[in-house]
């Protein structure tokens, strides 16, 4: 899976490209975990290029979010409709911090 990494000051923005499924989840988990640990949880995952995700993808997001060693946890931004439905269906949407735009997600770390 192609994953872009962008720096915005103290925050890293990860942009995975493609569906977050069982076959692709390993690359994503590795990249997201690395960025999360380097930036002490200040990570935004920009999901606008992820058309859908399966149950393995959802588990991966939860793992990256929940296993943060610091108080700060990664944010999700720009969820596609299908991803939002899947997260809502599994009652995981309320357990994650989701923002409409990457800018809002970055600013949430500065509060």
């Amino acid at each position: 899976m192609k994953i872009d990494l962008q720096g915005h000051g103290t925050v890293s923005v990860i942009v995975p490209h493609g569906p977050l499924t069982r076959e692709e989840v390993e690359d994503f988990t590795r990249a997201a975990t690395l960025a999360r640990d380097e930036k002490q949880g200040r990570v935004v995952i920009d999901m606008h290029e992820v058309p859908f995700l399966d149950s393995a993808g959802i588990e991966s997001l939860l793992a990256v979010y929940a296993e943060s060693a610091t108080v700060l946890r990664p944010r999700l931004a720009r969820l596609t409709d299908t991803c939002r439905q899947a997260l809502d269906l599994t009652n995981t949407l309320e357990r994650l911090e989701v923002f409409e735009t990457v800018e809002h997600a970055i600013r949430s770390f500065k509060r």
Partner: protein, 413 residues
């Protein structure tokens, strides 16, 4: 003018036949009244009448042949620019209808037709067309989704106002150069035209960057757009009829034959994008008992409610169809077995609620579901058979849902 000439023709013909008949009678009067003479005279009179009718019929046929189809008629001489544009629209629309083939939905092709026409007539390169959902709160593009991948959009801003009030917006000047890209709720649209039907807005046309709008009389612009509204409403009727023809009348979902067509199409698209799909079969057990008891109307109402409940739970690109008398088939896109199971659980719950709401005669009806998941690349028949087998296993085990994950596991290997 045509009626008067037709009546004159008939009068002349009748008069001619009468004169010939009188002449023949006068000839007879001057001769002996033999049988041969009378027969000859009678035959001549009948001949005049038949000849006259034949001439009239030939003339009538020629007049009919002289009527040209609308698509071949030129604009009436002396017509104004606006009248010519309206005439041109009607001709183009009828040609478009004639050239349409197949049973595909009307809206995507009509979207292209409208964009091309507006771009040509108003020289407006930015054109967007929307369908307004019943209730008037949301809209969706006529063709596909928007750039954000959303299918339905909340109506607000300029478009929302036009939809709610039914009042169009026609501004003379295009937006200033360097203005930000127009979003669907922007005030930078030059034309926002609501298409109305039975007192409600059913569609919206938005256009901008027209360089000619300021040079056209407003009445002409409104006449053109009103004519377009007529075409739009025509397409709306045709689309409703097309959907009605595909729909199972009892349940409100598509018939089995159309389910197969639609599901194959969706499956091809899903596999092209390497997306997983899940196929579910929902069985209603106990419907036959309702028939045997004579509770036919309760049974029919239940089927209608169950179909509606399933349609509410479906996403835009899922497919649900009436598979048999007691079974519904569902194709769920972009879902693996685990997520598919969650969706089917919610569907089963909705159906159970409908059964409970239906009351006494339907209390013994039970719903069960079987689900199979694809991984990628499995055919529809294989998925359906696996889902049906899973539903049968659910019945045998007395559980609500049974999942066949073997196909998905096989694909993963």
């Amino acid at each position: 003018m045509k009626r008067r000439s037709g009546s004159t023709g008939v009068a002349l013909l009748a008069g001619g036949i009468a004169l010939l008949t009188v002449y023949q009678l006068l000839l007879i009067a001057g001769q002996r009244h033999t049988f041969e003479v009378l027969s000859l005279a009678g035959g001549a009179i009948v001949g005049y009448v038949v000849l006259g009718c034949g001439v009239y019929s030939l003339a009538a046929a020629r007049r009919t042949a002289a009527v040209q189809p609308l698509t071949a008629l030129p604009s009436p001489a002396g017509a104004s620019d606006g009248e010519r544009r309206v005439h041109g629209l009607h001709v183009a629309f009828m040609r478009w209808l004639d050239e349409r083939a197949g049973a595909a939905p009307y809206w995507p092709a009509f979207d292209q037709f409208v964009r091309e026409w507006v771009a040509q007539v108003f020289e407006a390169p930015r054109v967007r067309c929307f369908l307004v959902t019943p209730g008037g709160q949301r809209m969706r593009p006529l063709s596909g989704g928007d750039a954000r991948g959303e299918l339905e959009l909340q109506l607000r801003g300029t478009l929302g106002q036009a939809a709610a009030t039914g009042r169009p917006l026609i501004a003379d000047r295009p937006a200033e150069r360097g203005a930000p890209a127009i979003d669907w709720d922007s005030s930078a649209w030059q034309i926002v035209w609501p298409v109305r039907e039975s007192g409600a807005t059913i569609g919206l046309l938005a256009a901008s960057d027209s360089s000619v709008l300021s040079r056209r009389p407003r009445s002409e612009v409104e006449a053109c757009l009103t004519a377009l509204s007529v075409c739009w409403r025509d397409v709306a009727c045709r689309e409703r009829l097309r959907v009605a023809e595909l729909t199972d009348k009892g349940s409100g979902v598509i018939t089995r034959r159309d389910f197969f067509d639609a599901a194959e199409h969706v499956l091809d698209g899903a596999y092209r994008e390497r997306e997983p799909v899940a196929v579910a079969v929902i069985s209603l057990e106990g419907l036959r008992r309702l028939d045997d008891q004579g509770s036919w109307s309760a049974r029919d109402r239940l089927i209608e409610c169950v179909g509606a409940a399933m349609r509410r739970r479906m996403r835009a690109d899922d497919v649900v169809g009436r598979f048999s008398d007691e079974r519904f088939a569902l194709l769920l896109r972009r879902l693996d077995g685990a997520l598919g199971t969650l969706i089917v659980q919610k569907i089963v719950q909705s159906v159970q609620e409908e059964i409970a709401a239906a009351g006494a005669p339907c209390a013994d009806v039970h719903v069960r579901a079987g689900l199979s998941a694809s991984g990628a690349g499995r055919g529809l028949d294989e998925l359906l058979i696996a889902a049906i087998d899973a539903a049968d296993r659910a019945r045998a085990r007395g559980v609500e849902i049974e999942v066949d994950a073997t196909l998905e596991a096989g694909a993963a290997r």
